[in-house]
Symmetry: C2
């Protein structure tokens, strides 16, 4: 039983106050904020222990006095930005019926992923279960409370919507990163790739893919449009949920 994956230690850290300063004024909050700023500006990979420490002006290893390791720092970063979601009285359940509420939940999560694209890289695996994550879960579930769904269905519907948002947000973040790394906009890349692809595909036959691919790429000037995928998928999912409410299985 190693101390490596002790859930209690990580949870206590997450639910702590993070305000007690050390000798040089070093605080958990300051460490987390610096790491978030770095990740916002240059991606999660840029939030290395060395660069976080440099940004604050302390030695690298001083961070380990306040944070057990990189993993726990990531957890703290995640729960901190989740705190941006529903602050105070901004209750998703007060936005009309379940459909408007669910749409609001999806849009707020989408916005959050646009502000902090690294969130998608930092999550995955066991959930974080920090205070803001639990608050988020509560606020989002309230949207679906009392409309005729079982508790399990409420959880499943919420998970479905959040999975959809996470998927399209990941797609968006991936394209944005590719654009930054390559220096080519999506349109430029597609203009450069399409002719090469067409030439290399000569001899093979893809009737449907050719027709559909050309149609959608002409509309988006690219190979995919995450914003459209977000809206289209959300509409379809909400229609499916409507059916679930109308005709419970």
């Amino acid at each position: 039983m190693s101390a490596k994956s002790d859930p209690g230690r990580s949870l206590a850290l997450l639910w702590g106050s993070h305000t007690r300063p050390g000798r040089s004024g070093l605080t958990i909050r300051a460490i987390v904020d610096a790491a978030i700023e770095l990740a916002d500006a240059e991606g999660l990979d840029a939030a290395t222990m060395r660069r976080v420490a440099d940004k604050i002006g302390v030695g690298t290893m001083s961070l380990y006095t306040h944070v057990p390791g990189k993993t726990e720092l990531n957890d703290l970063m995640v729960d901190t930005v989740i705190g941006e979601l529903y602050t105070g009285v901004d209750d998703p359940a007060g936005h009309g019926g379940w459909r408007e509420g669910l749409r609001y939940v999806a849009e707020r999560n989408w916005d959050l992923s646009l502000r902090h694209p690294w969130l998608l890289d930092a999550t995955g695996g066991r959930p974080t279960l920090g205070p803001h994550a639990v608050l988020k879960y509560e606020a989002e579930l309230r949207v679906l409370d009392g409309i005729g769904l079982t508790d399990l269905q409420m959880d499943s519907v919420l998970t479905l919507v959040l999975t959809h948002v996470e998927g399209v947000a990941r797609s968006h973040a991936g394209l944005a990163r590719a654009q930054r790394d390559s220096g080519l906009t999506e349109t430029e890349w597609w203009r450069a790739t399409a002719p090469v692809l067409e030439r290399v595909m000569t001899g093979h036959d893809f009737p449907v893919a050719g027709r559909v691919g050309e149609a959608s790429s002409q509309v988006y000037q690219a190979s995919a449009d995450p914003a459209h995928a977000f809206a289209f998928g959300l509409d379809v999912i909400l229609d499916g949920v409507q059916r679930l409410i109308d005709a419970p299985r």
Copy 2:
């Protein structure tokens, strides 16, 4: 204009035959296969250039004679395992109506992600557009051809289903990795975490989250069940697509 992100070079590599051996019999195919074996066994992080070379029995830098860099090797790995999907006459469009076909597509992609969890880490960003990826796109689109959807809707519906599968598969892979790294099964982890979470949450009030969270965690003996999320979400999405077909917008 650097050669770093030249789409033509990467495409030519993907559509090549990969069979011409060098002096010591070193082949692109052998390199890719070794990398896939490593990634299957220990995750994408284990497929380092050094370990791939060691596995084949050549020097690390010899790989760079056949592959421009790690990025291109990843692309080759991805397109290679995508080739496992619809081999030969196994056509998703021959599985009944669009609903059964779409379900078949979802299940085959789900299976593939279970066999090669690293796929989810290797994709993202611009699509790979190798021969097997294009073949997959064609085969999957045929399921939706001629049922009253526009070309754009066909592409959007397919994207929606694949995004859903990718999302729940990523969730599954994350939990599996957490289980391997921590040595705790999902049930064990939840049994260890739940009481701590309950104690740390005393003083706060989460009525709906408490009720729903307890209900679902009692069913799954965990905090989430990707297999259930896969099935539930797919049903809801298919219902929503049904509505789209019935009442085009």
